[in-house]
């Protein structure tokens, strides 16, 4: 199959788009400091390419798998690339979400901020291209090359503001966790090739592994991809790296890059390992659930808007892994339709999270540019100054809170539907514990709603908490286009779930051997009833109509009955005649109940002012226990080990020469 033939070949197109991204990035080096050229020319081209990738992926979703062997790479180790339904699904995600972020980024970069725009452009497009190559790779070698390119380019993007020490620290932590994870993935591939020495995925797929080895490969993959996705004990880099990066990069990392980790895990667990052991699923589910709860609880107490969203990403990844775990459990008991339902929920949530989380991150970017403020305590009332950003953020917030009729609701509803079938599982303990897990998911969803109320309410509603907020400006045209693109993705995914599930059904089929397609086709186009209409169904259009009618009636009712009877006068001061915006509820105050209820989860330090303080200050810091219980001991152990080795460094050349002398002698004796 030649790449140069002009047949409608999705793989060739996808590879060409990845290469074109690389070329766009390199073009950025021509005039790295010319923001107009980079922003108005190169990033829009990148966005058009992303739309092209989405179209190509859509055409590949229904088609047969295609593969190609590229003669690049090491001798005897060419790159194998392949597009099947799963790759196409994730390419669609990368293209659709990447387009919105690219067009936003076109308007985002300003002169004199951190790294020159041209360099950012190069790294950004290399990042995009490497993500596309990750999902197209068809052997361990090219996968790792693309994977590491992705990690490195995103590392440099995270540290683009490297003059701040905390940004460098965040970048270092990210790189460290990424590499530990990459080692685990490499080891997993090592087990999967089963001693044949052939790292092509086709070969791995054909191998049959013994129980213990298969489990080892599975858990190594869970560890490795979990590190990238931000699964519980390895989530630590995420709340550091996301706030450190420029907002389009945060959006790209949270919305798209985390999904490549999910892709990798699905590829290894289902496609290469044919996950058929049910208890693996229980482990994945447990990790996913604890990640989700942990993420959402921490998200509720944050007072930095990007950290809040980063923890919310951890929560969503947890929910995704709950879905995957449930699919593995069903798959292990050979309940194909239910496995397909849980898998559909997980894949749908991939799309949902990618669209709404990147939308929200881009909104924080707009707020950050307008106000230079990340702390929730200093924002407020921005809906008057930045109506575009505020209303579009509202769409993202509703989607993220899992409210109908938007996309977050669809995926969470599907997931809970699949939980309702767990009593059919033929295993005593499991079907008793599953309702608890379902309750955990519901608690997470409810708290996510709480978090989103906090996010939106504190930033956009109420009164401005600082004087300078009056000068805030709304997002520019290009930024608006990007935001509208992502918001319309949220709305589309929310209103047309039946059509979307029909499209992604081939990916589900590839993973669990069956899709939901047949069950869906017989229903009306507007009614989503995954298993049977008698059990449960959901119609987003109906919901939208009901909501619209209720709103209209309420609005008209208020107008008709109260409108002319309101009287404006000085408010009752309640003993405080001098109300000012600082007296509004704050982010800390809003999160306080959560902080009290879930106290054991946090490591809190509070400084309370004494009643006689002339200048009272209240300060509270909330930290992660895991950092102290898990990471610091590891760091100390590493330092201790280094100290043991330090005496080797004497500083005397004679001693160093002695080392090599002894090594030489030993080697000579050993080799003879």
């Amino acid at each position: 199959m030649s790449l140069l033939s002009f047949t409608p070949n999705p793989l060739a197109w996808a590879v060409s788009i990845a290469l074109a991204w690389g070329a766009v990035g390199l073009a950025g080096l021509a005039a790295p400091r010319n923001v107009g050229y980079v922003g108005r020319v190169l990033f829009p081209i990148g966005a058009v390419l992303a739309v092209g990738l989405a179209v190509v992926a859509l055409s590949a979703l229904g088609g047969a798998p295609q593969s190609v062997v590229l003669p690049i790479g090491l001798p005897q180790l060419p790159f194998h690339l392949r597009i099947d339904a799963l790759s196409a699904f994730f390419l669609l995600l990368i293209g659709a979400v990447g387009a919105g972020i690219s067009i936003y980024a076109a308007g985002y970069f300003r002169p004199g901020e951190g790294t020159p725009a041209g360099l950012q452009c190069l790294l950004y497009h290399v990042f995009l291209a490497s993500m596309a190559l990750v999902v197209m790779a068809d052997d361990g070698y090219s996968f790792m090359v693309a994977w590491e390119t992705m990690a490195l380019s995103s590392f440099f993007l995270v540290t683009s503001d490297h003059r701040h020490a905390e940004v460098r620290r965040a970048g270092y932590l990210y790189l460290l966790v990424a590499h530990v994870g990459a080692i685990a993935i490499l080891l997993a591939f090592g087990i999967l090739q089963n001693g044949t020495g052939d790292y092509a995925f086709a070969n791995m797929r054909a191998q049959h592994h013994g129980g213990a080895w298969a489990a080892a490969a599975f858990f190594l993959a869970l560890f490795g991809f979990g590190a990238k996705a931000g699964l519980l004990p390895l989530h630590i880099w995420l709340p550091e790296a996301h706030p450190a990066a420029p907002s389009p990069v945060s959006a790209m990392m949270s919305g798209v890059m985390l999904k490549t980790a999910v892709y990798g895990f699905l590829r290894v667990a289902f496609d290469l390992l044919h996950a058929t052991v049910w208890w693996w699923g229980v482990v994945v589910l447990a990790f996913g659930l604890s990640t989700a709860l942990y993420g959402v609880i921490f998200s509720a107490v944050q007072s930095d808007m990007k950290r809040l969203l980063a923890y919310s990403s951890i929560e969503n990844i947890g929910i995704l892994f709950v879905g995957i775990g449930l699919a593995i459990v069903f798959h292990g008991f050979d309940m194909k339709v239910l496995a397909a339902l849980a898998m559909t929920a997980a894949l749908y949530h991939c799309l949902s999270h990618a669209s709404f989380k990147s939308l929200l991150f881009l909104c924080t970017g707009a707020v950050l540019h307008a106000t230079h403020e990340r702390s929730l305590g200093k924002l407020g009332g921005l809906i008057h100054r930045m109506p575009w950003v505020a209303w579009l953020a509202l769409i993202g917030v509703i989607a993220s809170a899992g409210l109908p009729p938007l996309n977050g609701f669809v995926s969470e509803w599907l997931l809970l539907q699949s939980f309702l079938f767990t009593p059919q599982l033929p295993h005593g303990y499991i079907h008793m514990f599953m309702p608890l897990a379902a309750a955990g998911v519901v608690l997470t969803a409810a708290l996510a709603g709480y978090v989103m109320v906090k996010f939106f309410g504190v930033i956009f509603l109420g009164q401005p908490r600082e004087e300078k907020l009056d000068e805030a400006r709304d997002a520019g045209t290009l930024e608006r286009i990007g935001l509208v693109w992502l918001a319309s993705l949220c709305v589309t995914l929310g209103l047309f779930p039946v059509q979307v599930i029909g499209m992604i059904d081939s990916a589900t089929t590839l993973l669990v051997g069956r899709g939901l397609g047949k069950a869906l086709d017989t229903r009306a186009w507007w009614l989503l009833a995954p298993i049977s209409a008698d059990r449960a169904s959901y119609s987003p259009a109906l919901f939208l109509i009901v909501i619209a009618i209720a709103l209209a009636l309420g609005f008209l009712g208020v107008r008709a009955f109260y409108h002319h009877r309101t009287r404006q006068g000085p408010p009752w001061g309640c003993g405080f005649p001098l109300l000012n915006p600082r007296m509004q509820d704050t982010a800390e105050g809003f999160g306080q109940p959560i902080r009290e209820i879930f106290q054991p989860f946090f490591r809190m330090r509070r400084e309370l002012p004494s009643p006689f303080d002339a200048q009272p200050r209240y300060r509270v810091t909330v930290e992660d226990h895991l950092w102290y219980w898990l990471y610091l001991p590891i760091a100390k152990a590493a330092e201790f080990g280094t100290r043991l080795v330090t005496p080797l460094q004497q500083g005397r050349i004679g001693i160093y020469l002695l080392y090599s002398f002894c090594t030489l002698l030993l080697l000579l004796m050993f080799v003879r």
Partner: protein, 224 residues
């Protein structure tokens, strides 16, 4: 004994020269006067050159003449001359006694020679060359030069040790396989010359930094 007497005359002379080479190595190991050290180094080069010529004459390997010529120019004339100039300009004549005293160094050297012979035994049995018995000596020369670098505390003797190590390697090459390919040899010769120049620059840097060429000052560079 019978094996030795069965050797042709040229082989016996090569063995003799190898023995001289080893002797010079020992002399370099214990010599504290830097000027004499340089002379010994030149003498080692001369012996090396002579033995290479002899091997070339006996076996008719023509490229060995070039090797010998390079050795003569580089190691007998050029490098000693550079070193002499350096010593004069840096004004260092004596090396101080190192950590290990001279008799101990000699004893360690003897152990090293025994080990080297033992190590070279299986290799020299494989090699089918005229000069194979000398492989052990070549290896011993390398290791002795290494030992010299370890025990000295001034920078110049260490460099001489480094150069002498190269002599040993060269001798090993001629005795095991009648010399390395010409390209490799030219490359090594160039490396040695450039290395010498870099060392020279470093000497001056070290001296301006620490007012002495004693490398124990470099211990300050260690991470605390």
């Amino acid at each position: 004994m019978s094996a030795l007497s069965a050797l042709p005359l040229s082989g016996q002379i090569i063995n003799l020269l190898a023995a001289v080479l080893l002797l010079i190595s020992f002399a370099m190991l214990v010599q504290r006067r830097i000027l004499s050290l340089i002379d010994l180094f030149a003498a080692q080069g001369a012996v090396l050159c002579l033995s290479t010529v002899l091997v070339a004459v006996t076996t008719g390997q023509r490229h060995l003449y070039f090797s010998a010529a390079i050795t003569l120019v580089l190691k007998v004339v050029l490098l000693p001359w550079i070193l002499h100039r350096l010593i004069r300009r840096l004004n260092v004549k004596w090396d101080v006694e190192g950590l290990i005293n001279i008799p101990t160094t000699m004893l360690v050297g003897i152990v090293v020679v025994v080990v080297a012979f033992n190590l070279a035994l299986p290799i020299s049995q494989l090699a089918g060359t005229l000069t194979r018995p000398t492989l052990g000596i070549a290896l011993a020369t390398v290791l002795l030069a290494f030992l010299m670098m370890i025990t000295r505390s001034k920078a110049v003797p260490q460099v001489i040790g480094f150069l002498s190590m190269e002599n040993g390697l060269f001798f090993a090459a001629t005795s095991a396989t009648y010399g390395m390919p010409m390209v490799v040899e030219m490359g090594i010769a160039l490396d040695v010359l450039i290395g010498m120049i870099i060392f020279g620059v470093f000497f001056f840097q070290i001296r301006t930094q620490f007012d002495s060429l004693d490398i124990s000052h470099l211990e300050q560079l260690k991470e605390k």
